[in-house]
Amino acid sequence: MHSTTSEPTADPVRSLPSTVDQALKIAVVGGFGVGKTTLVRSVSEIRPLNTEETMTRAGDGIDDLNGVEDKHTTTVAFDFGRITLDATSVLYLFGAPGQQRFWFLWDRLFSGALGAVVLVDTRRLGDSFYAIDHLEAQRTPFVVAHNDFGEGDHGLEDIRAALDLDPAVPLLRCDARDRTSAKGVLIALIEHVRSLVAEAAR
């Protein structure tokens, strides 16, 4: 259920407008099973690059499915999608795999990224610590999005406290399956990056 998107065929595949001259790279990170692939799929206007594989019994006792029992597939390389913001800017989305065994991929995926989205799930908040630490250490701007699958039962301030998140880091709620909601997260990130740049220029 969790990996179905609200409008799987919402936009017909669009070709990149010739006026685009600004390509922005965004990384989507977070723990195992939090909805990173779903988010990239929801917002991408091209057929997303998909590296999901069926989870095998070799993962019993390693890939913890508590709270995400319906999950059958997992990303093993990365997700890739694209969304055109306006006539001149296009976002390229790179979703990293969540499990520790794939962390070695992260630095390459992050290099050159304008910013990152950290997806969190309150059932498994601890899974996002590595992503947040890593981004802070790299000084990559990021926003944290609580993927609540449309059912908000946790206060965002509780989540901020539990994650020990810097007050300057935007924290918002989203439903990764919903295109508009997922797009809102990307817009929040762009605005955050813009304000950081403006601050630095002051």
């Binding site: 998909n50 590296t51 999901e52 069926t54 508590n66 093993v76």
Partner: protein, 134 residues
Amino acid sequence: MDLARSTWLLEGLLERTPGTRHALVLSRDGLKLCHTPSLKADSADHLAAIAAGVQSLAHSASVEFGNGGGGVRQAMAEFYGGLLFIVEAGAGAHLAVITSDEADPGLVGHNMNELVEQLGEHLSTPPRATTGTV
């Protein structure tokens, strides 16, 4: 999967293929299933994750640019100091081999496919049961 037998099969592959250094069977979601003793546990974990990612990307290339037949015959990487070969093994599994510079890529690929054809059923891992808790 019978671990001792599978490991023995992998060792046989290395013995009859000059220039090969390590062989590993991995699940398609990136976990080691068995490997030759030449490969330390940490390296085996790492190779399993790498090979799953490479195969998955190769599959995407096949979908985008292949003839629609689907599937990946072989993925290969040539780096300074060696080569990496990956082929599909039994259901849900891949076979990865690391060789030195001196290996004959044709022979390595041939021997890997031969092993898979003969013994694919030993080199497989089924999907997880539908209930997720472990």
